[in-house]
């Protein structure tokens, strides 16, 4: 599966022959079967597929929050199968950004603090630098006015914007999003998608799942999953329509 399509020399994500089994008592569920995939910098990739097809499972493996049963998962140049729990956590902190379906903001912190949180974990920037970076991101996602509102005081769309800012604040190599628009109405979902696309144009690599055909139509590249297998090669046409 190959190649010529992506010209970038160093893929951010590289999966080869990945299986993921879930054991439910005596029964073993094969959530992913022989999945091989590469994500190059700058891509805006959608994982599409019916419910239960393995989209979330795939994102979890790439997001280093779960490990493959078989096969190799390389993220940002690191073979995740060989990393310790602490290293995986550091990899998530420094190389990955997460956007969740239910936003998952820390309820007791305001928008600013939520966005600042990963920077605090990184301990790389001082207060002033952090403030600048956070405000920059809040501006980008158009929510600077709400910096000191707590999630409870924000709408779903606003919360997801805060979540996007939080995912981007560390300048991750790739942002992973599992159905980021599923909990939003279609108008807001479209706005969020617009925002993500805009950020993608500014250089951020996105990989997200959806089963909304409308969202799929806007993807730079579509990875189609059925029953844990990738069934459709990246669509040359849709990719060219953007990049």
């Amino acid at each position: 599966m190959h190649m010529a399509t992506t010209s970038a020399p160093q893929p951010i994500v590289h999966l080869s022959h990945v299986d993921k089994d879930y054991k439910l008592g005596a029964v073993t569920v094969s959530a992913l079967k022989q999945v091989s995939l590469e994500i190059a910098p700058g891509e805006f990739t959608v994982i599409a597929g019916p419910s239960g097809s393995g989209k979330t499972t795939l994102l979890n493996l790439i997001g280093c929050v779960d490990v493959a049963t078989r096969g190799e998962v390389v993220v940002a140049g690191q073979d995740t199968g060989k990393l310790s729990e602490g290293d995986l956590t550091r990899l998530r902190l420094n190389a990955l950004g997460f956007i969740f379906q239910s936003f998952n903001l820390v309820g007791v912190l305001d928008a600013f603090q939520n966005v600042e949180f990963p920077l605090l974990l990184q301990k790389k920037l001082n207060g002033a630098q952090r403030k600048e970076r956070v405000m920059d991101l809040l501006h980008k996602v158009g929510i600077a006015d709400y910096a000191h509102h707590r999630p409870g005081e924000l709408s779903g769309g606003q919360r997801q914007r805060v979540a996007i800012a939080r995912a981007l604040v560390t300048y991750p190599r790739i942002v992973l999003a599992d159905e980021p628009t599923a909990n939003l109405d279609s108008v807001t979902g479209t706005q969020i998608l617009d925002l993500m696309q805009e950020l993608n144009r500014e250089g951020t690599t996105f990989l997200f799942s959806t089963h909304d055909p409308h969202v799929v139509s806007r993807a730079g590249r579509v990875v189609r999953l059925v029953d844990g297998r990738i069934v459709t090669e990246p669509d040359e046409q849709s990719q060219s329509s953007h990049a």
């Binding site: 929050v65 956590t89 902190l93 997460f98 239910s102 820390v106 309820g107 600042e116 949180f117 990963p118």
Partner: protein, 709 residues
Amino acid sequence: MILIHIALRNLLTHKIKSAIVGGLLVFAALLIILGLSLISSIDTSMSKSIVNSVAGHIQLQEKGAKDELSIFGQMGSNEIGYIHNFAEIRKAIEALPEVAAVVPMGIDSSIVFGGNVLDVKLEALRNAVKAGDAKQVDIVRRHVRRMVALLDEELKNLKGFSDQEKMSDDMKQGVIDVTAANQPVFWDSFDQDPFAHLEFLENKIAKMAIGEDMLMLRYVGTDTERFRKVFDRFEMVDGTPIPPGQRGFLINKFTYEEQVKHKTARRLDKIKDRLAEGAKIATDDEIKQWIKLNRTQYKEITFQLDDAATADVKAALQDELQTKEADMAKLVDAFMDVNDGNFQKRYDLFYKVVAPRIRLYGIRVGDIMTINGFSQSGYATTVNVKMYGTFRFHGLDRSTMAGAFNVLDLMTYRDLLGYMTADKKAEIAKLQAQSGIKELKRDTAEAELFGDGAGEQVEDASDATPAQAAAVTPTDAPAAASPTAVATATPGGSAKLFAKELESHVYSQDELDGGVVRSAAIMLKPDVDLKVGMAKVNALIDEKKFALKALDWRAASGLVGNFVGVIYAVLAFSIFVIFLVSLVIINNSLVMSTLERTREIGTMRAIGAQRWEILLMFMVEAFVMAIVFGAIGCALGYSIVAYFGHFGLLANNDFMIFLSGGPRFYPALPGWGLPVAMIAVLIVTLISTLYPAWLAMRITPLAAMQDSE
């Protein structure tokens, strides 16, 4: 930083959880603060009570003695040993810079007889006879005759109950004598030979009436002058201190009121006190019981009234009761049947009319008391000693425990103890020889007693009982002690002189310190730490090879001293329980909140928080909780302690008074109380956070992904 911020925010957000956990922590801190201040205050005030009344800081007793010294402990267990070389010990220990004084001691209990009413009346009769006042003789004689009749009646009743066989020969003879004295022929012949009759009554009859005035007194035999000076709680109430070096007895005002006072009067006092506390006769069963006793024990009053007094009292009671009733028994009964309406009036009337005509206190200042000891060698010993006055331990006037201690001079104490090593015996004999006191031999005693004309009486009345009685007067008075002759004084007898001399003899400090003592109290100088003092004393004991054991006041005061230990245990236990409960509840509520926060924690993990950072977050949260609520609890506890420390807490029973060393209890928190409480709360919180924190640590980032299923 952010973790503290999150922790604080969490506390504010999860209000119910915070309220429960916070409440518990506040309560735990409060409990520790209150408990600690209670204990340490009781410890200090009780130490004041005990140390400054009888115990001193340290007590010395013989090393290897069978029983450990127990100042407030049970009687009976009394094999606490003897200290023979007190003078040497005192000198050595008082030389220590930490020690203020060493006071010799011996604590014991004895049966004490005050002069009974019959004795007093007989003395009055003798005086009247001597003065040749026929009218007075007649008045007093009739009263005495009535008393003898009552005594006879009482003994007859007693005979009905008790087994004749078991009566001692003395007792049997006594009953016969009383019956003889109750015959008209005895009284008809009184004028013919008043002194012989008097002696018969004094020697044979009075002792049969003695039960009335029998007291069980606990006393500390000591160098009374040193005792008075060293124990600053000691203060005289009535009378005078025992003159330095002299024999004498001081009765504790508490004991004096409780035991020595006329029983009817005492009961009226107690009713008055109880009413002053707000009780009502109509509803108070104990008061009713006292009233009942006053009504049935009318004899306590009528027995003491002679004809003139009877007439006065009768008139007053008839007037008060508006009755023509002539029977005194019925009058007193009716008078004592008080109620809430008439109590105060009758109380006043009693003290105005009745009290001056009866013996209000069985023993009065200046009286000679007869103490019946049971010596260590097993002999009954009897000594007579003058009662100089009453005293109290300041602040402890109402405490049964401190109030039970009376004070006896050391020489008399030693007589009672009857303990003599061979050396000591010789020494005492020598001392007595030096001070001109000869042992009173029975035969010479008799001769001396009946010296002037008494012999005649003996011969004259040789067919009558009185003479026989008189011939065997000082029966069981031991040689070392003064003869009973003091109580039943013979005019002009040398025995009286002997007793007088003994009474006023001034013993030197060497004599006081030279004899045997049972224990010694060491009073440390102010601000000397007890542990330091103890160590110094022990070092000295080792160095000088004294056969002594040193006990701190706590140990020496027996159970009472351990009381603080008991409270400590109770407090420790309740704190333990409260902590256990807090542990479980805090743990539970934190587990709940951890589960609630699973997604949040999973998200943090997914975003890149390490496990230890999650753990840290929980610990910070626990820490903040402990600090905030612990501080609130401490502040609350501190305010409560400060409040009562300022205004005091009323000590409403004897034991409380003893514990607080005064009528009010002033709790104070020791300096280390607050840090201890804070640390304890912190530890509990951190421990109860361990499990939930461990759970939180195990939450995987996957928890963030699983969607609102």
